[in-house]
């Protein structure tokens, strides 16, 4: 059964997954991102590590989307503002398949039915779609926040000129 394998090897699979994600950052930084465990000193590495674990567990349990979404959002929010294209930002989800196959080939003692494997991989694909939604949401937020920032800068100037803010800036 695939589920048994996934539960037994969760640590190994997630560890490989996180390694693959971190190898997408410049090589000189992988040690820091992976090994610095203080969540305040290393928010990027900490978030990737802890959220990857949660994501994997939720995926194995076949949880509903809402549980997956929070973890996806936490990681995507970071990757949206880092030096990545849209494809690179969401690509980390597909790396889970690589991690799974690698662990299977190294540690899989039992026969894993192909249909179960394909079903699990489809769940991973759906996760990628959620990640894309999340990425678009972050981009939208950035644009909204940038507009609000402009408004804040001149708020009391407009008030002084007796200009109703709403007449210039329609609230989004």
């Amino acid at each position: 059964m695939l589920t048994e394998f996934l539960q037994r090897e969760q640590a190994a699979i997630v560890d490989t997954w996180v390694d693959l994600i971190i190898s997408g950052y410049p090589a000189q930084s992988s040690h820091f991102l992976k090994e610095e465990s203080d969540r305040f000193r290393n928010p990027v590495g900490f978030t990737i590590g802890s959220e990857a674990n949660k994501l994997f567990a939720a995926l194995v349990d076949n949880n509903d989307e809402s549980r997956l979404r929070a973890s996806i959002d936490s990681i995507i929010k970071i990757r949206t503002v880092q030096d990545f294209t849209a494809a690179q930002a969401v690509h980390f989800i597909f790396l889970l398949k690589d991690a799974l196959r690698k662990t299977l080939s190294e540690k899989g003692k039992e026969e894993v039915p192909i249909d179960e494997l394909l079903a699990f991989e489809s769940r991973v694909d759906r996760l990628a779609l959620l990640a894309f939604d999340s990425y678009m949401h972050c981009r939208d937020r950035i644009n909204e926040i940038r507009i609000q920032e402009m408004k804040r800068k001149s708020r009391f100037l407009l008030k002084r000129l007796h200009i109703q803010e709403e007449s210039i800036w329609q609230e989004g």
Partner: protein, 539 residues
């Protein structure tokens, strides 16, 4: 803009690892959202800066003057002679790595060139190549790099990814201050006319009108009167706010955002209430209508030019000493540079609080103190009547702004004030506050709209700590004493930690301050209903 769209066959590529490259390779890519625009010629020429021209970092050709190499190397030579510290910083780094993972830009981006040690190495490698014997003989082998146009672009990219916050220097066993290296890097770039607009235009405005926004005297007066009206509506008391009053005891200089920006303005109302209540004999000035000094982010010379105007105004108005508002980098200038560049201010007196009699000896030479020190002293002597419950709508945490915290050690005063004016104050984790505070990620001239993504990266460590206290204690306000923070933390919070408002320390003081003869207060400084007064306001 140089944004790359991958061709379809690249999209299918499984390996997204960035190409492994050596730090010595200077190539950078100016992606949208991660750099600042070049300065407009009207500002550079107003300030008589060299090689004023229209240019953008995304241009292939930066139109450098023919003798650009000579200019840079001579500029470096001059500075090595002039600043002993620079020479020492260039020579003594042992690359121990203690600073490497302490920079918020590195933590948020994972980009190795944001490690302070490598940021400094960008300049040091050129120094090594041209100014040391080993470098001259061995070049690359000794860690030297020949100066190229690519290196100039790399400098521009990374010296404008440093907020000069000095967090790294706290951890360096040799006290190397990478912020100072960044400052030198920027000065050298400016020699080639590679200024950024968000620094140069405010500096030009300040030079012309006395403040970064370019507000003229009548505009300043209007703003202050407007605030007096607003405060009257909230408290029922019409305060006096004297402007250009000769012979006043104290000149009060605030950052210009205080009388325009949201949320700065609420703190400005707090100042007006406080100074009225204690009856301080003070004056604003329409010519020193800016406490900030964007010159600091440009060059020592520009910083000196802008700083001088405050002292000239103090002299003209004949005040005894200067009180400064909630600003960050203003205090870096006052505490670390003013005395050498324009001081000592012999024509002023050592600041003495006329209310408590406290003599602020530490300002004996600069004659200028921060309003947080002044207010803390008032509270300590029991001079203020405070009702903490008028801040019960807030669960507050405090962001130590880099300059007040690391450049002037203003750590206890704001906390003492907070504990005196509100009931719910919670600290962020120890390794993210006080001397180790994480920068807002937008200081030193980087707080522009076009640089938004880089700011979000740099601000992640700060936001991450705020998120923690939001989860633990339901914190809903991030209080600070710096004008740049008040402008740049709200978007940072909106992105990373929605639900957190940013506020000024003196906004909370203004809320709590019970003024003689005030009407029953139903709103706070934001004109929002006070806790328990919601119905009254609606009715």
């Amino acid at each position: 803009m140089a944004e790359k769209i991958l061709p379809p066959e690249e999209l299918g590529r499984v390996d997204y690892s960035p190409p492994k490259k050596s730090w010595m390779d200077p190539k950078v890519e100016f992606r949208k959202g991660t750099f600042n625009y070049g300065a407009v010629p009207s500002s550079t020429s107003y300030l008589d800066l060299p090689f004023s021209r229209k240019w953008q970092p995304t241009d292939d050709d930066w139109q450098l003057p023919d003798n650009w190499k000579e200019i840079i190397l001579n500029g470096l030579k001059d500075r090595l002679k002039k600043y002993r510290s620079l020479k020492v910083f260039m020579d003594i780094c042992v690359r121990c790595g203690a600073c490497a993972d302490k920079c918020h830009f590195y933590i948020g981006s994972g980009d190795p060139k944001n490690m302070p040690v490598l940021r400094a190495e960008l300049l040091r490698s050129v120094y090594r190549n041209d100014f040391t014997t080993a470098g001259k003989l061995l070049g690359k082998l000794a860690g030297g790099r020949k100066l190229t146009k690519e290196i100039i672009k790399e400098w521009f990219y990374y010296f404008y990814q440093c907020t000069e916050c000095r967090r790294c220097s706290v951890f360096c066993p040799y006290g190397i201050d990478t912020a100072e290296i960044t400052m030198m890097g920027r000065e050298l770039l400016n020699l080639l006319g590679l200024d950024i607009d968000w620094i140069t235009t405010p500096a030009a405005n300040c030079f012309r009108t006395g403040n970064h926004l370019g507000i003229q005297p009548h505009g300043f007066k209007d703003s202050v009167e407007f605030a007096v009206d607003d405060l009257e509506e909230i408290t029922g008391i019409r305060v006096e706010a004297p402007i250009n009053k000769k012979g006043a005891e104290v000149l009060f200089i605030v950052p210009s955002a205080d009388y325009f920006g949201d949320p700065h303005y609420f703190g400005f109302l707090g100042y007006l209430a406080l100074l009225h209540e204690i009856g301080l004999d003070y004056t604003f000035s329409t010519f020193a209508s800016e406490g900030g000094n964007f010159g600091l982010f440009h060059s020592a010379e520009m910083m000196k030019r802008l700083n001088a105007k405050m002292y000239m105004e103090a002299k003209r108005l004949g005040v005894k000493w200067i009180l400064g508002g909630e600003c960050g980098h203003m205090w870096r200038v006052i505490h670390q540079y003013m005395d050498t560049v324009n001081g000592p201010a012999d024509f002023l007196e050592v600041p003495v609080s006329p209310i408590t009699g406290t003599r602020f000896e530490h300002a004996a030479s600069t004659k200028m103190i921060h309003i947080a020190e002044f207010t803390a002293d008032l509270i300590k002597h029991g001079k203020l009547n405070l009702d903490k419950s008028r801040n019960d709508q807030w669960r507050v945490t405090f962001h130590d702004s880099c300059n007040p915290a690391r450049a002037m050690g203003l750590l206890e005063e704001p906390r003492f004030i907070l504990n005196s004016v509100c009931n719910h104050f919670y600290e962020m984790p120890e390794n993210t506050i006080r001397e180790q505070t994480f920068c807002c990620g937008s200081g030193a001239g980087l707080g522009t709209d076009e640089n938004f993504e880089m700011r979000m990266r740099g601000g992640l460590p700060r936001a991450n700590a705020v998120k923690y206290v939001q989860e633990q204690h339901d914190v809903n306000m991030l209080c600070c004493i710096c004008a740049i923070d008040k402008a740049t933390l709200p978007p940072l919070m909106d992105y990373w930690v929605p639900g957190i408002q940013v506020g000024a320390l003196h906004e909370l003081v203004g809320n709590a301050l019970v003024m003689k003869g005030e009407k029953e207060r139903v709103t706070d400084m934001r004109s929002n209903p006070l806790p328990g007064k919601e119905v009254t306001v609606d009715a």
